[in-house]
């Protein structure tokens, strides 16, 4: 009896010890990570800390080199370590900063940010789509930048239009920077990415109007049997400005549309009353029935790959996407040339701020250094090149003012963070005409009277979630022409109304009136 009691005690003691040990081990490793702000090596790049002078001097002089941390979305680019080391070398010398990065998969990125900040982890700045501004602010994840920008933000202001910063203000405080603001902005998503070489092959005019676009699609349908003329689940969205001046009011869950009148006043309407969208939907339906849009468009996977493989001639594509994809396109289909074509309305307005933003987290203790880092990227072509393309001669080289990547070894930070026309370099195979057309994209565009307006969702959170759900359910169906819009519109309108669309519209009207009056 005593023996078995002993063996039983021994076993449970063993299990208990095992668990406590586990906690202790976890504890000690955790302490090393979280406590060692300055002293710890960057994750997964302990080799680089031996290379940089910055790394080795860190523990002794915490006042000199400040480490700022960020979580980037995606996967760490292959071959990043030497580049990051060089960046840190220069950062240490220029502004006394060391950049430490960790990575989170795209689909978990927002999640991870919230969790990290909630648990009080060390994150100094984050990236996100600029439309995340109000959500982040509501969750108190981000902090105001006014002070730090006043001190160190000059290079940023020099390279991005000051008016765009208004779009990142809440309650008068600057809550983020529109980091890609200096890039084509007007109606930038009402644009296609298409095969220019095919246009030349069949002697077609540039698809810059709806009629010309139709001619192009018809030619492809007739002559290229293996290709789908256009693969897009939002064909109507692309061309809608050609049918009317109405566009979507951001932040309203796509439930409210607006148009800018000639006197620069703003009229709101429920999204189902947008002439532009309705007419465009009808056109998309025609195209679907003509066979220009594939039947299973809603369940086809990734459309850009299809374009790059030569399975289709056209898809959605914002400005600059042609240059970004040209390399892959040429490799797969020799001789293929990509181009972008926007579909502006009668008047061009700039309401977008570039779509990307960088934010300072509310738990950061290094606001100044963060802004200094951002400014550093825009301080010189040299810095910009180092950050975006790598080490010259090692990762890339410049030929005829075009960037040629030297090996698959290094894949650059994608352009979504600091894309800027003042510094941007284009890859080989891109014509000067294209670059010109990108630079001229915003020519003749007026700043929208709504620039700077951010819809405050406080009063209509519930309705927003509901309309968003309805919109996400119906939008692709309407915009891809897969169902006759006449059939499905009544249902859609009914649901939108039931979801509280009117309440949102009234709230938006109030907010806009206040916003415009304050100007």
């Amino acid at each position: 009896m005593a023996k078995s009691k002993a063996s039983m005690r021994w076993l449970t003691l063993a299990i208990a010890i095992l668990m406590v040990m586990g906690l202790l081990i976890g504890c000690s490793k955790g302490n090393n990570e979280s406590a060692g702000n300055e002293a710890s090596a960057p994750p997964a790049s302990s080799a680089s800390s031996k290379e940089t002078t910055a790394g080795s001097s860190t523990p002794e002089q915490p006042q000199e080199i400040v480490t700022i941390k960020s979580i980037y979305p995606g996967d760490k680019p292959k071959g990043l370590d030497p580049v990051l080391a060089k960046i840190n070398e220069k950062l240490a010398a220029d502004i006394g900063v060391k950049l430490e990065l960790s990575w989170a998969p795209w689909d978990q990125y927002n999640n991870k940010i919230v969790l990290s900040v909630a648990a009080g982890e060390d994150v100094d700045f984050i990236w996100s789509g600029s439309s995340s501004l109000s959500q982040f602010a509501a969750q108190k994840i981000i902090a105001p930048l006014d002070e730090a920008m006043a001190k160190y933000g000059k290079p940023i202001y020099d390279n991005i239009d000051g008016k765009l910063f208004d779009t990142m203000k809440l309650d008068g405080k600057l809550m983020g920077i529109p980091s890609t603001g200096n890039s084509p902005l007007a109606d930038v998503y009402h644009s296609i990415l298409y095969r220019e070489d095919l246009r030349l092959k069949y002697n077609l005019p540039r698809p810059d109007s709806v009629d010309n676009l139709e001619a192009y699609l018809k030619a492809i349908k007739t002559n290229e049997k293996e290709m789908d003329p256009i693969t897009s689940n939002s064909a109507a969205y692309i061309i809608m400005k050609k049918f009317g001046p109405e566009d979507f009011l951001g932040g309203t869950g796509s439930s409210v549309g607006y148009k800018i009148n000639d006197d620069r006043s703003v009229t709101l309407m429920p999204v189902q009353e947008m002439t532009s969208l309705n007419e465009a939907n009808k056109k998309a339906r025609e195209w679907f029935q003509a066979g220009y849009i594939p039947k299973d468009i809603l369940n086809i996977g990734d459309v850009t790959s299809r374009l790059l493989a030569g399975a289709t001639a056209m898809t959605n594509g914002a400005a600059l996407t042609a240059s970004e994809q040209q390399g892959t396109m040429s490799a797969n289909v020799p001789g293929a040339i990509l181009d972008n074509q926007p579909f502006f309305g009668d008047k061009k307005y700039i309401a977008s701020n570039g779509g990307n933003a960088l934010f300072l987290t509310s738990v950061s203790k290094h606001a100044d250094k963060v802004v200094q880092f951002w400014s550093w990227v825009f301080s010189s072509q040299e810095n910009f090149d180092l950050y975006n393309y790598g080490i010259e001669g090692v990762n890339y080289e410049l030929k005829d003012n075009r960037v040629a990547f030297l090996d698959d070894g290094y894949t650059a930070f994608p352009g979504w963070m600091f894309k800027n026309m003042n510094f941007l370099r284009f890859p080989a195979g891109i014509s000067d005409e294209y670059i010109d057309s990108m630079k001229k994209w915003d020519e003749g565009a007026e700043i929208s009277p709504l620039m700077g307006f951010t819809f405050n969702p406080e009063n209509v959170k519930t309705e927003l979630a509901q309309v968003n759900s309805v919109w996400n359910a119906y939008s692709k169906t309407l915009e891809s022409g897969i169902v006759d819009p006449q059939q499905i519109m009544p249902e859609f309108i009914d649901k939108m109304k039931a979801a509280g669309q009117d309440k949102i519209l009234q709230d938006a009207q109030k907010q806009i009136d206040a916003f415009l009056a304050a100007k």
Binding site: K5, G22, C27, G30, P43, K76, L115, E226, F405, P427
Partner: protein, 297 residues
């Protein structure tokens, strides 16, 4: 079990045919995945995955192995986590399940409810994350990959069911003979529980092997990244870059189409591979019958 003398002669034929049909239905998609993982991405996009592709290429596998040199290391991490995790899990789960299966334990229904309740209600990711990172300090610890999923209440109920079926007499005779509860458990109960032990071990093994979630949240250090998370990261990037139709995600400068479909298939194969080798060893426990009567003697 020798009941064959009494069968209708057609029965085994129908049986084999049905099973072959089901097995084929299960196997064929897998073979398609296998062949797809060796297909060129362009061909997949243009013609879809096929059972017998026109050209073979190792592109997808190359891409995976090139992405991060840590792939072999991650196999090591995963193996450690799986072996240790499974062992501790089966032990802890088995012990608790057994306790709530014994009729003599008055609290067994209460404990069962205690366990079951956790399957229903859950506070969400935020408090769980804060607990593990802030209070338990589990960030970047190998135990972060094991402890949070140590016990699955589902398996507790599976084992409890099985233990309930073991006659009380067995346990009682052990106690009467002077053995302690632990000894009875280890020496008498477990040896005749091979089927359920094998089942639960297999399930835990699969769970640990397949998990990327814990690494996603708790591991930054490259040395601790398990296999699935490694593969998941590769896929996640590909998914996003490939699906981005707006300016918010631009392709990186590579001269091949990002092999997203074929990589996805290749990761499936890389995941299954090792398990298929282990499985046959466990299978025999589902195949042998046991006779409790013999053990009793």
């Amino acid at each position: 079990m020798n009941t064959h003398k009494y069968e209708h002669p057609l029965f085994p034929v129908v049986n084999y045919m049905l099973l072959t049909l089901f097995a084929a239905l299960a196997l064929i998609p897998f073979l398609i995945v296998l062949s797809g993982s060796f297909m060129d991405e362009k061909e997949i996009i243009l013609h879809g995955i096929r059972l017998i592709p026109e050209h073979y290429t190792f592109n997808a596998y190359q891409y995976i192995f090139q992405q991060n040199t840590g792939l072999f290391r991650s196999y090591g991490v995963t193996i450690f986590v799986t072996v240790v995790g499974t062992a501790v899990s089966v032990l802890v789960t088995g012990a608790l399940s057994y306790v709530i299966s014994v009729k003599q334990v008055k609290l067994r229904d209460a404990l069962s409810f205690f366990v079951y309740f956790t399957m229903l209600f859950n506070g969400g990711m935020i408090p769980w994350y804060i607990l593990c990172v802030k209070y338990l300090q589990m960030k970047n610890s190998i135990w972060a990959l094991i402890l949070p999923m140590l016990v699955n209440p589902f398996y507790i109920f599976l084992m409890r069911s099985y233990f309930k079926g073991i006659p009380e007499a067995l346990r009682e005779s052990g106690i009467i003979d002077g053995a302690g509860e632990m000894r009875v458990f280890l020496r008498i109960i477990l040896p005749i529980s091979a089927p359920i032990l094998a089942t639960i071990s297999l399930f835990y093994m699969l769970a640990y092997w397949n998990d990327f979630y814990l690494a996603l949240f708790f591991v930054d250090k490259a040395e601790l990244i398990p296999l699935q998370y490694h593969l998941y990261r590769i896929l996640s990037t590909l998914n996003y870059i490939a699906s981005a139709t707006t300016g918010e995600g631009s392709a990186v400068a590579q001269n091949i189409i990002l092999p997203s479909e074929s990589v996805r298939l290749a990761t499936t194969i890389l995941t299954i591979g090792p398990i298929i080798f282990v499985y046959p060893f466990i299978q025999k426990h589902f195949i042998k019958g046991i006779t409790i009567g013999a053990v009793k003697g």
